[in-house]
């Protein structure tokens, strides 16, 4: 069956350019037409790149002269609106930054541009990434392309939905605790969280600086591997980026089996309140891993409820500090433009850091964080990866986050541990319940991106859950 242009992976787009089946101008026009047709129904893009077609014409000229010598040449991408992009407004989905035109480019978007990517536009998110639904966006929620009564997840909900809806070839997101993997799971696409410090945070509007990690959302693991290779690496502008060398991730994929790989299934990640059909999909994934030659064993880790407490304190505390820079003096509007969720987080963080509570809350949370880190260190002495569901269930309905001050924490209960510990993790679709996708996480130790990508790729190539909705039916 012939694929349509918006269904192509990065490799397929490049093959099409080389065989002259279509040009970059054709492809960008195709996406712009689809955005025109579907964006008002889904609220994915907040701003579009007015120069996209002009840049596509330059790509076609470059391909005619030199061929494809850059990794993302002519790849149309959707960029989460918390990355500073010169020439395109950047709001982090908050009114306090409405109309803000960045004065410099983020490191990761600079790297994507240097690799030849074309930015189609900026995608909706939870305001300042504070949430797991996109419902805290000041510009309205994004809707799930599988079913518009449902949320896309978040905070990178616009970037994930852009891939599901075929409104970009690939997307950039960021994860503080779940913000790549959870929307990717709810939207049925592939997301990849690199280790903390793998990709630079410079020019990414900060949420929690000790866990913020930029990463890709794409049509499959291979596309995520290609983008991760481009955005990874030490950045002199971000002192927390690791000097460890970046491997050529895509070259380690396409393994025929997983012989010699030991995977731990975390007993506690099969939550009591989790539906049986979701648990069954995880059990099916265990069976698939065994078929592929991996050893899978059940292990026990700390009850996930403690990760919620640790993450809540650390994240709110760092938010209160990071968002103090929004004073309306050098850029942006005044602090009365913060939405209620932002105010709630800044205030709780101010509280946990304040005199008299600092030891009881902040220091306690950091100590439990150490326990979580040590637990993983112990696990990775024996196992290559830890597996479990991404989210307790499929996408929830629009309105689900209302009056739930800890909605995000509850939905990300299986993701906070790995984020707190700075681990790397792949999120891949592993089946459907009620016609909605479910995601599987494959989490590896810090800097083991190659391993996480390789295992996830082998699983993905041997399963058939990487499906996309027909928008003319679902919308």
């Amino acid at each position: 069956m012939n694929k349509q242009l918006h269904e192509l992976t990065i490799g397929e787009v490049h093959a099409g350019y080389m065989s002259k089946d279509f040009t970059c101008v054709n492809l960008v026009k195709h996406f712009l037409n689809r955005i025109e047709k579907y964006n008002h129904k889904l609220n994915i893009y907040l701003a579009l790149n007015e120069k996209a077609l002009q840049q596509a014409a330059e790509v076609d000229k470059e391909i005619a002269e030199k061929g494809i010598t850059r990794e993302l040449l002519g790849i149309p991408m959707a960029i989460k609106d918390n990355f500073l992009t010169v020439g395109m407004s950047t709001t982090a989905s908050s009114n306090i930054l409405k109309g803000y035109m960045p004065q410099f480019e983020s490191t990761v978007t600079s790297k994507l541009l240097a690799a030849g990517a074309i930015f189609l536009g900026k995608t909706n998110m939870d305001s300042f990434a504070h949430g797991s639904s996109t419902e805290t966006s000041d510009f309205g929620p994004t809707l799930n392309p599988w079913n518009t009564d449902k949320l896309p997840g978040g905070s990178s909900g616009g970037s994930a939905a852009a891939i599901t809806a075929g409104l970009a070839t690939a997307a950039l997101g960021s994860e503080t605790a779940g913000s790549i993997r959870q929307p990717a799971a709810w939207c049925g696409v592939t997301g990849f969280k690199p280790s903390y410090g793998r990709a630079s945070r410079y020019g990414c509007i900060a949420m929690a600086s000790s866990t913020d990690s930029p990463g890709p959302i794409g049509r499959n693991i291979k596309d995520c591997a290609i983008i991760t290779k481009v955005i990874a690496g030490k950045d002199p502008y971000d002192g927390t980026t690791t000097p460890a060398s970046v491997e050529n991730y895509p070259s380690f994929l396409d393994k025929k089996d997983l012989k010699g790989i030991k995977i731990a299934l975390v007993k506690e990640y099969m939550l009591k309140e989790m539906r049986d059909d979701v648990k069954q999909l995880i059990t099916d994934a265990v069976t698939k891993f065994k078929e592929l030659g991996a050893e899978v064993e059940e292990i026990s880790l700390m009850d996930p409820k403690y990760a919620i407490g640790v993450y809540t304190v650390i994240q709110r505390s760092e938010v209160s500090s990071n968002l103090s820079r929004f004073d309306g003096i050098r850029f942006g509007h005044t602090r009365d433009q913060f939405c209620q969720e932002t105010k709630r987080r800044v205030m709780l963080g101010t509280y946990t850091l304040s005199a008299g509570y600092y030891d009881a809350f902040y220091k306690k949370a950091l100590a439990v964080r150490t326990r979580i880190v040590s637990e993983f260190e112990e696990v990775f002495k024996t196992y290559d990866a830890v597996m479990g569901a991404v989210s307790p269930g499929p996408a929830l309905s629009v309105g689900a986050s209302k009056n739930q001050p800890m909605f995000g924490e509850m939905e990300d209960v299986l993701l906070e541990q790995s984020s707190i510990a700075g681990l790397t993790s792949a999120g891949v679709p592993c089946g459907f319940v009620d016609g909605l996708p479910i995601g599987l996480q494959i989490t590896c130790d810090q800097l083991q991106e190659t391993k996480a990508l390789m295992i996830a790729d082998c699983y993905q190539q041997n399963t058939n859950f990487n499906l996309f909705p027909d928008l003319d039916k679902s919308l």
Binding site: T240, R335, V346, T350, K364, T370, V373
Partner: protein, 105 residues
């Protein structure tokens, strides 16, 4: 473990520290919600951390320095640096008074 109640007065104090203005209904809402959130956080006391140090930074990098030279690539021209500010004066940002401003908060 004793239950921590966050009072409306405390919420008002936190708002002042965070330089945020709240409506009265937000003050009451936050007092209730913070009390609930602190309940969740307080579960951490079930874990013994008496001899466990805190983890501030997860990838073990410390004291990352650079040469003390000006990086001209990062210097914004004055016009661009000031472009997004609402109030400027003679090429400077105009900032609000921060001393003796307590009655304004």
């Amino acid at each position: 473990m004793h239950k921590v109640m966050v009072s409306a007065e405390e919420v008002k104090k936190i708002a002042k520290l965070a330089s945020l203005k709240l409506q009265q209904e937000e003050v009451d809402l936050f007092a209730t919600q913070f009390t609930q959130t602190v309940d969740v956080i307080n579960q951490l006391n079930e874990i013994d951390t008496s001899s466990v140090p805190g983890t501030y930074q997860v990838n073990n990098l410390a004291n990352i320095t650079r040469e003390d030279v000006v990086d001209t690539d990062r210097i914004l021209p004055q016009a661009i640096a000031l472009r997004e500010a609402k109030l400027t004066h003679n090429g400077f940002f105009v900032v609000p008074r921060v001393i003796d401003s307590s009655e304004e908060l």
